[in-house]
Symmetry: C2
Subunit: 423 residues, 2 copies
């Protein structure tokens, strides 16, 4: 990095204004929080309106826009040697149904802000720089998260992605066609030189440790199980304990056992959550006859993840034996762990340190587009802390203008270093 | 009992036909079971239609009908000494929203069948015999079960009962007035000589033990708690275990602990059920922020019940300490145990034995009108087994014609003995 570029900083207010303006697209009043939230489910009219706004800004910044077959957008700033693979930055702007303004948008608008800053300062780079908007990252509408980046990276076939349908039976393909989003860039895409993504942490670790930047080690493996526990509904007052098949008790035993597995330390950095529980008939004086629970397992270590699943399945048999219920387990999601290359982590940490920002190495709990593009190229991520324990997927989601600017200044410097490197 | 009356039996087919015909009033098709169910919520038009049908049969049997202030019906067969207090038999014909044909109806129509049998055989009794239909036993519409019998017995004041409202704001008093059900019998009523009620078991114990008749010891104490567990919603992948306040884990710990309390045997014949659980936001990848659970405790021993509540409350404090949640407990129902007099239990057992029926002493898990009238007079109950683990409050509720007839033959003989006894 030259002496000049080391002093360049992004425009904090411009970044903030763009986050605010994009947050008005798909805005709604959230009853639970009494706050304005964002609802831009993938490939809805609101999502398209958000894309139009951002693509307009991209064009104003002189970027050349292309789309690939799954509707991912690539906005290109030419390099001095434009034949070289670009440094790709990006994220997504589609949202969950009760979203805030930061999830994904910071990565896309931060990429745009990097380009604007380079332009403002008349800085050219050896390699091109591209800003990506990936399609359907949240998976809320069509059921598969990181859908667009997974197609770009070749993990999911285009035809399979196009055939996915929402709850009204509308397919991804039909929506791409309706909005004219099918571009001429083939998938899988040509590997970029490197990929970088800045994202809000969506958790409490950075704030709890008083850190300004998270250097992301990788993305944890994720396994989702849906358990259907079949017992027997029975009168709470007239059915002795030994004649019960209590599906609610079985669910509780599994929940407590899972917590014990985490606390045992036997499965590395396992996280386990029973988030959903639906009792039937769900009445005060009826022993639950059927219970559905979900299990969310996360682990940066794939082997330890598998071991935890095996041991949990063995425990199901114990619970069946003890309580007389039957437990049916269905795997509804499963992704392997992704480790970002050490040199990408070191690169991010160096920029943060040189900017005087405190940082911590952290494993992403959520999936991200970077985890997909990592299959094509060296990838890295920058996390910024959020208030309120990093709450996300909620209108209370909030990262300060300073935290956002810190993350994008780190991104700017990392992009410059990658885009100008010899190899 | 004379040699003549010892050979008298009720008419099994007539009893069954009356149960079947009453089951057509308020009949509906139940989606869950694909069976015909019964829906006669108290003081609805369906309930009144059911009453009219049964009261018509009562009049045909020559009974003299009166009502009390809360709409309970008393159908009287005169005694040889009509100045003596009557032997009262009865139950209710109002139902839950998804009922079968037996709950309550067996006691009322069985009482009618006893009277019809006495008439058929030209048998008179020293004391009068009365058949009662009690108002709003289920408590489903207005929120308090055994409402009519509790007013008759003086536990609940008439004005308080009349002022109870359903979810549309319609009061008991308004419905009594609309249907012209307010009678001239003052409440509390004059104590009868004794009270007997035949009812389906609504549980699996008799069938599991291969017994034909349940001699009811009494009605268990019931305590209902509603627990609101306040934790903190958090991202399942991004929130380390030690930074969680997991309301779902707390609920599971309480559920498992309660089961352990039952199994310890330290609380006598305690039954405990967590029937309802509502997680918020109830999503696979969010640590439950708030959970509502209900606790249903039953115990024939009032002291042991109190001890279990105290120990459970102490455990809540432990859970709060361990998980960081806050637990708010609200008592939504609480009734003391009722013990039926030994001589009433012996009377029932003797009739069953003389009829060659196998029987078992059993504590009622559910509340019944007999538990209220027991405050006025010696009371007793006869249980008959049901199929499918005694499932009740469900269209699958079923007791065979033979089981129903067995119970009512026991009732007939017990009524004869009580109605003819010298004291």
């Amino acid at each position: 990095m030259t002496a000049d570029t080391a002093l360049v900083r992004i425009d904090k207010d411009r970044l903030w204004d763009s986050l605010t303006e994009l947050g008005e697209v798909g805005a709604y009043h959230d009853e639970d929080t009494d706050l304005q939230g964002v609802r831009r489910l993938a490939l809805t009219d609101e999502d398209i309106a958000g894309r139009e706004l951002v693509m307009g800004w991209m064009r104003e910044a002189g970027l050349a826009l292309r789309r690939d077959r799954i509707g991912n957008v690539y906005a290109r700033r030419a390099g001095e040697d434009d034949s070289l693979p670009p440094v790709l930055v990006g994220s997504h702007i589609d949202s969950v149904a009760t979203a805030g303004r930061f999830d994904g948008c910071l990565g896309v608008l931060g990429g745009l802000e990097v380009v604007r800053t380079l332009d403002d300062n008349g800085i050219s780079t050896r390699r091109p720089v591209e800003v990506a908007i990936f399609t359907e990252e949240e998976g809320v509408r069509f059921g598969t998260d990181m859908l667009g980046s997974a197609v770009a990276a070749g993990r999911i076939q285009l035809a399979d992605a196009r055939s996915q349908v929402d709850r009204d039976g509308v397919s991804v393909g039909a929506e791409l066609d309706r909005h004219g989003l099918v571009g001429d860039v083939a998938v899988p895409i040509q590997p970029p030189h490197a990929y970088l993504e800045c994202h809000i942490e969506q958790g409490p670790i950075l704030a709890a440790g008083g850190k300004q930047i998270g250097v992301v080690r990788g993305v944890q493996a994720i396994t989702w199980l849906e358990l259907t526990i079949g017992g027997r509904a029975a009168h709470a007052g007239a059915t002795p304990q030994h004649l019960r098949k209590n599906a609610g008790l079985a669910a509780a035993m599994i929940t407590v056992h899972l917590n014990g597995m985490v606390e045992s330390g036997d499965y590395g950095r396992l996280l386990a959550t029973v988030g959903r529980q639906d009792n039937y008939p769900n009445l005060i004086n009826i022993v639950p006859g059927n219970v559905l629970i979900t299990v969310d397992l996360r682990n940066p270590d794939g082997e330890a993840m598998q071991r935890s699943i095996d041991d949990l399945q063995a425990y199901f048999a114990e619970v069946e034996e003890t309580t007389g219920v039957t437990i049916t387990s269905r795997t509804t999601a499963r992704t392997p762990p992704v480790d970002f290359p050490e040199h990408m982590q070191d690169l991010v940490e160096k920029q943060a340190t040189e900017l005087g920002l405190t940082c911590d190495r952290i494993t992403s709990g959520a999936g991200h587009d970077a985890g997909e593009i990592a299959a094509l190229s060296p990838a890295g991520m920058i996390f910024v802390p959020g208030l309120y324990d990093g709450i996300s997927h909620n209108p209370r989601e909030y990262s300060t203008p300073e935290a956002c600017a810190d993350g994008i200044n780190v991104l700017l410097r990392a992009v410059l270093e990658l885009a100008n490197s010899a190899d």
